[in-house]
């Protein structure tokens, strides 16, 4: 069937032009400064220096990481019980619950984020409810609103990932554990939880990555003053027109994401090594 091989060739040219070249351009711009062309090409780390020596950018970086980490933690804490309960159901109930979880994911993310703007307004429904209890708080244009928006948009990924790994689990393992005298809590901590960790890990990846790079959720729910790293990249490209600095920041972001993924995978391995039942 070698005659079919050539069918992949057009796409190889396409990915070279549309995926590889843009990636190389990001690297090239990140390590050069404005005014460079092919003849005066000079390698520099000036852009990275500019980022790490400016207190404002460091603050933005810290805030982005803080928001992303908190979002991920909330998604795990709220998503795990939901996935666990859904995994206990069967047949039509399960199908219906999964449909209810997936349905919002099909609706445009901008539309779903916009919906929160009305709810969180100063005279909005949430504040009217809170005022019954004598509370009057500013909700829109705060970190709370941004985290809420991110949890809302990304938690379905977490629930579905954990649910998949819980569903794949061999139920007889729990029966075996309880036959051997483990109580419900022990069954959960020693059998169910370790076996569902791969789902938690891929859920964390699916939540953390968009959370750290998002720029429209902070803009819509955080207001113009709420700047995350994605917003800095956006403004460098679309307002300031500084491709070199913008490329450098996106490389910094990519490296941070890679490091966090690496740590997450490492933690997963250690946990499984110590407490898992198969390693």
């Amino acid at each position: 069937m070698r005659q079919f091989r050539s069918m992949a060739y057009p796409y190889i040219i396409w990915i070279a032009a549309m995926i590889v070249v843009p990636m190389l351009m990001i690297f090239m711009y990140a390590f050069t400064v404005k005014g460079n062309d092919v003849t005066t090409f000079r390698f520099t780390i000036e852009n990275f220096g500019k980022f790490f020596s400016d207190a404002i950018f460091i603050e933005v970086l810290k805030r982005s990481l803080f928001i992303a980490v908190i979002t991920t933690i909330i998604c795990v804490l709220l998503g795990y019980p939901a996935a666990y309960i859904i995994a206990q159901t069967e047949g039509k109930t399960k199908m219906f619950l999964i449909l209810l979880i997936t349905l919002p994911m099909w609706i445009n993310m901008l539309v779903r984020t916009y919906a929160w703007m009305g709810i969180l307004q100063d005279d909005g429904i949430l504040n009217s409810i809170l005022s019954i209890f004598g509370l009057d708080v500013k909700l829109l244009h705060t970190s709370f609103a941004v985290i809420l928006g991110m949890v809302y948009n990304f938690i379905p990924f977490m629930i579905l990932q954990i649910h998949t790994s819980l569903s794949k689990m061999d139920k007889s393992l729990i029966e075996a554990a309880s036959d051997l005298g483990a109580n419900k809590l022990q069954c959960f901590l020693r059998v169910t939880l370790p076996l569902s960790l791969p789902g938690v890990i891929s859920g964390i990846t699916l939540v953390f990555l968009p959370a750290v790079s998002s720029f429209f959720i902070p803009k819509l729910l955080g207001g113009g003053q709420f700047v995350l790293i994605g917003n800095v990249i956006e403004s460098q490209f679309l307002t300031a027109g500084n491709w070199n600095f913008g490329s450098a920041i996106s490389l910094i972001m990519a490296v941070i994401i890679m490091i966090s993924m690496y740590i997450t995978k490492k933690v997963d391995k250690v946990e499984n090594g110590e407490r898992g039942i198969f390693n």
Partner: protein
């Protein structure tokens, strides 16, 4: 729910679902508001739907979203299918390298893909607008199509195509009559993913578009700076269409199964 799930579980699931659906219901309700307020419902009215249908920029955004989603889906499904079949017959190194590069747009944050394409198009002096947006959408859709077809090709018996060739089929016939029908489920799910990815895209479209070519996401983003209940109207229509489609997709197999069972009795 079955007997095993307790009252706490039910309450918990109810709260989670309320969290998911309150903003959606809120959007639908306020699309019928007679005043401009997003916080106080002052009476039923269809004026925002009327405004929406008479708003040229909104209608144009809907048009561009649909046309780009359809074109990007068709092109990326065809190219993705051809490539996946080609890759399955390629040698290991080519296959591994292409699969690795192919997964980059999925693994990378969208904003990184977006700025890469922005710089590429600007450097080549391509006029930003419909063409750049379509090319970008094809670029990020093909990887999903390939990823959903590859597992089907892996589980395909390689002898099937050989048998077709031995029995006198031309390679083209073997491809269309033997291989493609076998991987059809993968092609269909790839096309569905491609369509929704294109329909919902904001980040990449936002960076590569220009000259007034907007899709629904970009429109919502730019309009949301001022209160505009027409956004609720268009959101409600999107929500309605998606809900109906998803319910139909999920209910049809159940009805079919029931009919099949009845037929057997």
């Amino acid at each position: 729910m079955n007997k095993k799930t307790g009252i706490f579980s039910k309450i918990y699931i109810f709260i989670i679902m309320a969290f998911f659906y309150i903003p959606i219901i809120y959007t639908v309700i306020f699309s019928f508001n007679s005043s401009k307020s997003l916080t106080h419902f002052e009476g039923f009215s269809l004026q925002w739907y009327d405004k929406m249908f008479n708003d040229a920029t909104m209608m144009q955004a809907v048009f561009y979203t649909i046309i780009i989603a359809v074109l990007a889906t068709v092109i990326s499904t065809v190219v993705g299918t051809i490539t996946a079949i080609g890759l399955s017959k390629s040698n290991k190194i080519v296959k591994a390298v292409v699969e690795q590069i192919n997964s980059l747009p999925i693994m990378n944050p969208e904003i990184v893909t977006a700025i890469g394409l922005l710089m590429l198009f600007s450097t080549l002096a391509v006029k930003k607008g419909f063409m750049t947006m379509l090319l970008a959408h094809i670029m990020f859709c093909i990887p999903y199509v390939i990823l959903s077809i590859m597992p089907k090709l892996r589980s395909l018996d390689p002898n099937l195509a050989d048998a077709a060739l031995d029995l006198g089929a031309t390679p083209w016939q073997a491809l269309i009559k033997v291989i493609v029908p076998q991987i059809m489920p993968g092609i269909v799910s790839g096309a569905l993913i491609a369509f929704t990815m294109s329909f919902d895209d904001f980040v990449i479209s936002y960076f590569v578009t220009g000259n007034g070519v907007n899709n629904i996401s970009i429109m919502v983003y730019t309009m949301s700076k001022r209160i505009n209940p027409s956004i609720n109207a268009i959101s409600t229509i999107i929500i309605l269409i998606i809900t109906v489609v998803l319910i139909v997709i999920n209910v049809i197999p159940v009805i079919k199964e029931r009919k099949f069972k009845k037929g057997r009795n």
